[in-house]
């Protein structure tokens, strides 16, 4: 989607997108903070740096659609509108978390908003989404099943099987590849997250099966990404079969190691308009690739939002996030005896 012929964004879309992206970012910054304060047990994975593509897809969905994510799903869940307090509570393992502290970071789930339970087994969630598409197709409804997954899932054979079946049955599945591989450090270089495949152009996989592809490249404008995501969702909803949507992003260097580090501090919107210069180890990424700052620049340039509107929105979001985190901190842990609940329905 690098063409510039997209219709200009309207203000309400810009407002929604800005809020969604700010919520994603501020939520994750706070998550890192809570983790460093030892309030979050276990593993977690931050969505920082991937806000643009994910938000574009979420914006294109309707309330009736089904969603699944993977281990890196905070952004998708809060971007879909799940309660921030219950989301933080889940990360903290609290009784009023989204799943009562049972799933934690890697199994975020909110059925009221169409969010089905997510598998943290690479490739599995893609097969679950195939099932959601199967169910939707059988019901005859005009819904879409979206699954977000990382580039490493393309190393698992099940993903190829799923594409074949989705294509064969023309199932309404939107395969949303979170390709955060640009600039990632591979395992053998001491990093963790880079994909390990001879295949560099991932859209060739769906193409193999005749699955329509849409690419939202890292450098694309948000307007173009939104148009691309809508095209993908509409195609799928119209019953044409599956779509593979590559959401490309430049790897946030803070997550190159297993435990994320925010070496450049929390985001400062002032950096979008030169009021302040990014400092520290990741300054280059912040300056050139931070999708939230890029969003701010794009919206200001297009006259969709002013600096003040953005700052005000950010303050509101920060307050909500702060308040939600406090809610989670103050919330009770689950009762030990509740461990035995919900094995069978």
């Amino acid at each position: 989607m690098s063409s510039n012929s997209n219709p200009p964004l309207d203000k309400s879309t810009a407002q929604r997108m800005a809020e969604r992206m700010l919520v994603m970012r501020r939520f994750e910054e706070k998550t890192l903070d809570l983790f460093q304060r030892k309030l979050i047990p276990g593993m977690y994975h931050l969505y920082i740096g991937q806000e643009a593509g994910g938000s574009a897809v979420l914006d294109a969905l309707g309330s009736e659609d089904s969603l699944l994510t993977n281990h890196r799903g905070h952004g998708h869940v809060v971007g879909r509108g799940s309660d921030l307090g219950r989301s933080f509570s889940e990360l903290l393992g609290k009784a009023n978390g989204l799943t009562g502290g049972r799933g934690g970071s890697v199994h975020m789930c909110d059925p009221e908003r169409g969010f089905l339970i997510s598998s943290a087994i690479l490739g599995s969630n893609i097969s679950l989404a195939l099932g959601a598409g199967y169910a939707i197709k059988r019901s005859g409804e005009k819904k879409v099943a979206v699954v977000f997954f990382g580039d490493a899932s393309l190393e698992e054979g099940i993903t190829f099987e799923v594409m074949n079946i989705a294509a064969m049955r023309k199932l309404p599945v939107l395969f949303a590849l979170e390709n955060n591989n640009l600039g990632a450090i591979a395992l053998h270089e001491g990093g963790y997250s880079a994909s390990n495949s001879v295949l560099k152009q991932f859209t060739r996989i769906p193409e193999l099966f005749g699955v329509k592809t849409v690419q939202l490249l890292a450098g694309d404008t948000l307007a173009s990404k939104i148009a691309g995501a809508r095209e993908a969702v509409d195609y799928c909803r119209a019953g044409n079969g599956p779509v593979f949507c590559e959401l490309q992003s430049v790897h946030w260097p803070g997550s190159n190691m297993v435990f994320a580090q925010m070496l450049t501090g929390v985001m400062d919107l002032g950096m979008a308009w030169g009021e302040r210069e990014p400092q520290g180890e990741h300054a280059g990424w912040v300056r050139d690739h931070d999708p939230v700052l890029r969003m701010a620049r794009e919206f200001i340039a297009a006259g969709l939002m002013s600096r003040d509107e953005l700052l005000a929105l950010d303050r509101k979001v920060c307050e909500e996030v702060e308040c939600a985190a406090q809610f989670a901190i103050d919330s009770p842990l689950p009762e030990p005896q509740s461990a035995y609940h919900h094995v069978f329905a």
Binding site: H107, I117, L128, G131, Y134, H341, V343
Partner: protein
């Protein structure tokens, strides 16, 4: 009650399920194989053609698809054919479907029915003679059915397809042709209710699936010697009807477990351990397991036969026990 084969009863159950519930659909439409029973499925194909999907050989994707569809209210019957093909979709079957309800804090369920033929089918060799039920029993959240009679296979299937939980449903190639009375129309045989297939006072023989038939044969022989064996069939492993089993051992004081899984950590291990733990005081002699030994199943008949539990081995064990 009509007399019919196990295979016909299974197909009948599938037909009734499809006819009575729109949400039921079939993935891979040959649950009774490609042999002599294949034609039984014709009427299902004729009447529900659009609800059967014969998928590619992609067991992992299909297993996950079943769980995902079930989360949205579908009732998929996922035929894995030879049940050990489940190993190809194992992660989805034991680590996705059964966790959905718990991980979602009770908000979601994934009531998919996985299906396959287990056991030593006759010259299937090592890779096609397996029985996954012992492994499956160690996966919390998954129901397991092992019907041993035509009546049970239909009733348990209809129960499974209405249950709110995921199920692995296992039949046996050597059961497909056995005949028995089967009620017409819709009926359900509840999970978690063992059945005493034969009453007896001298020894309790617990068996599942084809081994129930073996145990009943052994009981006939023993009866001629004046030994009355009680044959108890748990019918489902999860849920597991400990009570009926323990009550039987309380009456007889002796236990033989017959099972077609390999010995170590097989189904017989769990049954024996449960009775040893909770029925220790009832036992007048050590519990006895008769199982496949821990040996891959070879192709050739005499070496295959050597490894499989049969009536003679059960009879011998009971005689030894009562000596």
């Amino acid at each position: 009650m009509k007399q019919m084969s196990y295979a016909a009863a299974l197909v009948d159950g599938l037909y009734e399920a499809l006819a009575s519930d729109e949400k039921v659909s079939i993935v891979s439409g040959h649950p009774v194989g490609f042999g002599p029973h294949r034609a039984l499925m014709d009427r299902v194909y004729d009447d529900f053609h659009d609800r059967i999907f014969d998928p590619p050989n992609s067991e992992a994707a299909i297993a996950g698809m079943g769980a995902g569809a079930a989360m949205l209210g579908e009732r998929p019957f996922i035929n894995l054919s030879t049940s050990i093909f489940s190993y190809v979709g194992w992660s989805q079957i034991v680590n996705d479907a059964p966790n959905v309800h718990h991980m979602s804090d009770g908000m979601l369920t994934a009531p998919v029915v996985y299906y396959g033929l287990h056991g030593v089918r006759g010259n299937g060799a090592a890779q096609h003679s397996g029985s996954p039920q012992a492994m499956l029993w160690n996966a919390p959240g998954l129901q397991i059915a092992l019907p041993s009679s035509p009546s049970d296979v239909k009733g348990l299937l209809l129960w499974a397809l209405r249950s709110r939980n995921p199920t692995f449903f296992l039949t046996h190639a050597k059961l497909l042709s056995i005949e028995g009375p089967v009620a017409e129309g819709l009926y359900e045989t509840p999970f978690g209710v063992a059945e005493i297939k034969r009453a007896g006072r001298d020894v309790t023989i617990i068996a599942t699936s084809l081994m129930v038939v073996v145990a009943l044969q052994a009981a006939e022989t023993l009866a001629k010697e004046g030994v009355e064996a009680e044959v108890v069939d748990p019918r489902t492993l999860t849920p597991f009807d400990e009570k009926t089993l323990l009550a039987s051992v309380e009456r007889t004081g002796r236990l033989v477990v017959v099972d077609e899984c390999p010995l170590r950590c097989g189904v017989a291990a769990e049954i024996t351990a449960t009775i040893a733990e909770k029925g220790f005081k009832f036992l007048k002699s050590p519990p006895v397991r008769i199982t496949r030994p821990d040996v891959p199943i070879p192709f050739s008949t005499p070496i295959e036969d050597e490894l499989v539990p049969n009536a003679a081995k059960v009879v011998a064990a009971v005689r030894e026990l009562l000596r």
